[in-house]
């Protein structure tokens, strides 16, 4: 085999493997994977020039047009408080307390990041709907529940995103594990 053919084969394969590895890394990356707090992951450099290439790429895939931390903080959970993957055929209790922000919302998405079809057309629970902002529960389940309910649409795998707009600390820090809601599986 002529030498240039060897270089061509290795060069093309190298480029393809490198690019493929990058795409795979981004596709399997979690939004805000650079900081894990209990079941939640977050990042403080979304939408800023400080964001590294990987963060920027993952945000562009999973949360394009995310705001900088001083305007909004995004906490994403793909697992419950024990680390088990969130399963739309199970029932979970999301329990939280006072969220240090002007307003917040909890939204359920499928793995690609789209809202999940359900008969009740409920896609999120926002702070304005919570009777007691210091202590609240949202039940995430496929079937209708008493109180605040977030339907899963019975999908195999779902994610929760907690948006905290205008955080009290100006986005300088992240919420602690105690401040973030717990996600406890109650049954399947």
């Amino acid at each position: 085999m002529r030498p240039w053919i060897r270089y061509a084969i290795c060069g093309v394969l190298g480029l393809a493997l490198g690019a493929g590895a990058a795409v795979q890394r981004v596709r399997t990356g979690a939004l805000g994977a650079n900081r894990a707090i209990g079941p939640w992951t977050t990042g403080s450099d979304f939408g800023t020039a400080r964001a590294g290439p990987l963060t920027r790429a993952i945000v562009s895939l999973r949360g394009l047009l995310a705001l900088p931390a001083h305007e909004a903080r995004y906490y994403n959970a793909a697992v419950d408080s024990t680390g088990a993957v969130l399963d739309g055929r199970c029932r979970y209790r999301v329990s939280g307390g006072s969220i240090p922000a002007k307003w917040w919302s909890l939204t359920l998405y499928d793995h690609p990041g789209y809202l999940v079809a359900n008969q009740a057309n409920i896609f999120s629970v926002a702070s304005a709907a919570v009777p007691n902002s210091a202590k609240w529960d949202v039940v995430v389940a496929p079937a209708e529940q008493a109180g605040l309910w977030l339907p899963t649409g019975r999908i195999e795998r779902f994610e929760l995103t907690l948006r905290a707009y205008l955080p009290d600390d100006g986005g300088m820090g992240s919420m602690t594990r105690d401040q973030l809601p717990a996600i406890v599986k109650e049954g399947c």
């Binding site: 270089y7 490198g18 990987l54 999973r62 079809a117 359900n118 896609f123 304005a128």
Partner: protein
């Protein structure tokens, strides 16, 4: 096998290059696709008031169902673009401008604006902007200006929708 040593070495170097180039280009490509997709609503340099997000929404990932989004996909090829935001009767609204690299070049909310109108001109470095307008300089020729309005109660949406449709976006050239 000796004849393969240097070709494999070149392949490894190119794999490293390919990884990094793909990682850097990934957000640009997705942003361009999103800008193009959103422009199907009302075209470039026009404000499009999208309906509240449901499970059918596919224009962008992770839409918030609590927010009413108005978008202006901008193209600065022919000059700066003016964005005017009319105040909305909602506890929170904001304007943000994202460039082709997905960086937020500008963010201003209703609290910072004292619930007064916001008027900016999006321009590239070197493009002249009238003195009466606040210039927001971005890298690249395209991007998205985005208005978010908090809709705490969907029954209030009609009033919010009427108010947000007074916001506009247009080329200055």
């Amino acid at each position: 096998m000796r004849g393969w040593f240097f070709p494999v070495l070149v392949g490894l170097v190119l794999a490293f290059v390919g990884y990094n180039v793909a990682m850097v280009q990934f957000p640009r490509v997705l942003m361009e696709l999103a800008t193009h997709r959103i422009a199907k609503g009302a075209g470039y340099n026009n404000m499009f008031a999208a309906p509240l997000a449901t499970d059918k929404a596919r224009a962008i990932v992770r839409p918030s169902p609590d927010l009413a989004y108005s978008t202006c996909p901008f193209d600065l090829s022919d000059g700066p673009v003016l964005v005017e935001v009319a105040p909305v009767p909602a506890p929170y609204w904001s304007l943000s401008v994202f460039d082709a690299r997905t960086d937020a070049a500008y963010v201003r909310n209703n609290v910072e604006a004292n619930n007064q109108p916001i008027r900016i001109a999006i321009a590239q470095e070197g493009q002249p902007v009238p003195d009466s307008m606040a210039a927001v300089r971005v890298k690249g020729t395209t991007g998205i200006a985005l208005i978010r309005v908090l809709v705490q109660d969907r029954r209030q949406f009609a009033a919010i929708d009427a108010a947000r449709r007074k916001s506009r976006c247009k080329g200055l050239s």
